[in-house]
């Protein structure tokens, strides 16, 4: 009996290892290039943030003015880092959960290169002044079909992997991943067609642009982050999802509510009123599926405080889950019509983006990356200290941006804007502490992610620790649950 289970355990490990090997090139490519774009995006974000309070910074060259650096920063965060981290996690997660090694790593790798090329050209386009000027789709307009094609070449294999899955059970993460894979082309194609191709009323184009931003958050980044956190929480703690049927309810709630959000961005504009109020209500209501997933993940990991503290993957995923719950609260605060009057044209939108993209999505992706990379490179993370500082500087940075700059700053800026008898300088002055605070916070996050990129790049070069021990975020070595540490090759020889 014990022999049997040992064999199946070995077979299991062999299959996992097979899957990891089959996907190591695209996954590492997505992660590492994503992290590089993230570092660049944050550098541009720091520049843009400094420009808001010290416009003379870096002189008067048009390439580094606020209008270009800010949009390049945000779009790199979305398409350079966010989408690529999502691709890496999704292809690996789907293969693992479907128990199928991938046969199409090459195609995905090529598509990944196309995606990166398009992102690079798009960023140069923005910085050289050829951006489209449309929020969240600022790349020059010829870029979006290329991105969509590259996406299709990646996502199709995720869906195929699911189709040929070996296991009968469909895990909750697979639902979320499948949802995201199918929603993205719908959202992306619809929005880009209406905004960039069809000749529709510009007001409606702006409203659709607002919808695009929210749909991308709620129907792409959110489900992938939730999928990853459900998996990591269950995997690392070795416990089942706290309540699985409830988790399914959360998925369907997100699927039903998510697509309605976004048009409250144009509140007060002469578009049909129900578009705005439905957008407001949906952005608030998305909090329900977020809280369902968030509490479910937290309860899965509850009572395992030590594991949460020690495992980098779980620690980041749980932090991302708290970010998700904070995002639910942020939706309630910022999307209700009463506060929209204040926050509509303030820091609130950017703060919400930062919380969704970094505080929630990116933290979950970091968790997944810290889990996946040691498996596909078969090396352990080099430095626990580096991971720890990545974690804490990220947390401090994003919390400072959201709790201080966004919550306080948005309302102060909004109420200053409403004093329309005052000169605009009054608004700038009253927002000054928050913009300076934002610069400081971005510097923290930039610092964190430059080291994250180097750490990841070293892992990609297979310079990770060749150890039987995972890199845990603990300082003492005696209490390691994985036994005596040693070089795996030495242990192997000793065992043989």
């Amino acid at each position: 009996m014990s022999n049997n289970s040992q064999i199946s355990c070995t077979q299991d490990a062999a299959l996992r290892s097979d899957i990891d090997r089959s996907l190591r090139h695209p996954v590492m490519f997505f992660f590492t290039s994503g992290a590089a774009w993230l570092a660049l995006s944050l550098l541009l974000g720091v520049i843009a943030s400094v420009k808001t309070h010290s416009p003379e910074f870096l002189g008067e060259g048009s390439w580094l003015q606020y209008g270009r650096t800010f949009t390049a920063h945000l779009n790199l965060m979305i398409y350079g880092w966010g989408a690529q981290a999502a691709f890496g996690v999704v292809i690996w997660l789907m293969a693992r959960l479907s128990r199928k090694p991938s046969k199409n790593a090459g195609t995905m790798l090529v598509a990944g290169h196309v995606w990166n090329l398009a992102v690079g050209i798009g960023t140069l386009g923005i910085l050289s002044g050829h951006g489209s000027g449309k929020h969240w789709m600022n790349f020059p307009t010829f870029v979006w079909p290329v991105l969509l094609l590259a996406y299709a070449a990646i996502a199709i294999w995720v869906i195929v992997t699911f189709r040929v899955r070996k296991s009968e059970d469909v895990y909750i993460s697979q639902w979320y991943v499948l949802g995201a894979m199918l929603w993205f082309p719908w959202v992306y194609l619809t929005a880009n067609l209406f905004v960039n191709v069809f000749d529709i009323h510009p007001l409606m184009a702006a409203a659709i642009n607002g919808w695009f931003r929210h749909a991308l958050i709620f129907l792409f980044f959110t489900p992938i982050a939730i999928a990853s956190s459900y998996y990591i929480a269950a995997k690392v703690t070795g416990r089942p999802i706290s309540n699985a049927s409830y988790a399914m309810g959360g998925f369907w709630a997100l699927a039903i509510v998510g697509p309605w959000a976004g048009m409250q961005m144009l509140s007060g504009a002469p578009i049909p009123d129900f578009l705005e109020s439905v957008g407001s209500a949906a952005t608030i209501l998305v909090g329900v599926p977020l809280i369902i997933a968030g509490v479910n993940i937290l309860k899965t990991a509850s009572g395992k405080a030590e594991t949460v503290a020690h495992s980098p993957a779980l620690r980041f995923s749980i932090a991302g889950t708290f970010g998700m719950i904070l995002l639910a609260a942020a939706g309630v605060i910022f999307a209700s019509p009463k506060s929209l009057q204040f926050t509509q044209f303030s820091l609130a939108n950017y703060g919400y983006d930062v919380l969704a993209l970094y505080g929630f999505f990116s933290m979950s992706m970091f968790g997944a990356i810290y889990f996946i990379v040691p498996r596909i490179t078969r090396r352990e993370w080099i430095s626990g200290g580096m991971i720890r500082s990545h974690f804490w500087t990220s947390i401090y940075g994003v919390l400072f941006i959201f709790l201080f700059c966004t919550l306080l700053g948005a309302f102060q800026q909004g109420s200053a804007q409403r004093q329309y008898t005052e000169a605009w300088e009054f608004v700038v002055q009253s927002t000054l502490p928050y913009t300076i605070g934002m610069t400081v916070a971005w510097c923290f996050i930039l610092y964190a992610n430059i080291f994250f990129f180097f750490h990841l790049a070293l892992m990609w070069l297979r310079l990770g620790r060749l150890s039987s021990h995972p890199t845990l975020l603990t300082r003492e070595h005696g209490s390691n649950p994985h036994g005596k540490e040693g070089n795996v090759e030495d242990l192997n020889e000793a065992g043989a």
């Binding site: 996992r16 090997r21 009123d273 109020s277 209500a281 309860k299």
Partner: protein, 250 residues
Amino acid sequence: MSDSSQNKPDLDDNTNVLVNASAVKRENNVLKDGSEPISLWVMLGSALIVLVAGGALFNSNLFNYDELTAASYTRQAQPSDGSGGVVPIPAHKAYDKVGAKLAKASCLACHGSNGEGAGAVPPLAGSEWVNGPSMRTAMIILNGLDGPIEVAGKSYSGNMPSQGSGLGAKELAGILNFVRGNFGNEASFITMEMAQTAIDSSKERNGGQMTVSELNSNYNVDIEGAEFDPNTLVDPISLEPVEADEISPH
């Protein structure tokens, strides 16, 4: 996947897959689904969120297409001097604004929206009773008018009720300047002091509507008062002239 392939070293490795894949070997399995009870926090949080969302949805115009923008997004712009105070404007504009509001309700309903008159109601435009001596105009407004009257070459049998109730100096001056300065009329400017003089002399009467003969015998004069340049800058609310040094530089 045969046994032999597992035991062979990988292409770019010199060791067996399973040997140094320690991360893979120590992994937990993903367990079958749990079914712990639903957390109270989810219930409370969701209820709160649904409540707020319902408020956002149903406190709006929804499918009312007549209102283009929500009420809270429209605002009457006020002139400003940049420091929160109001910008002074020329007197004739300020008085005109005050008068236009009142005249619309009190005068133009009968005398026509352009002061052209209507049927039995004589016109304001080009009327000698409006453009002539200002005391006559003021007394008609304050007391009304009864009996036959000739206006702009046509005879009317007037019965105009008094419009004087609630009129202060500011309002009367506003109305006078409005009717005497619009519809092609170009009569002299009436200050608030002048309007007060007219109100005072109206009070000395014993009430009742004016007649043409009384107007011509007692009130056929311009209201007495100091000369006033209609272009003087005044506060748009109080209509008081603003001293030059009170105006902040721009």
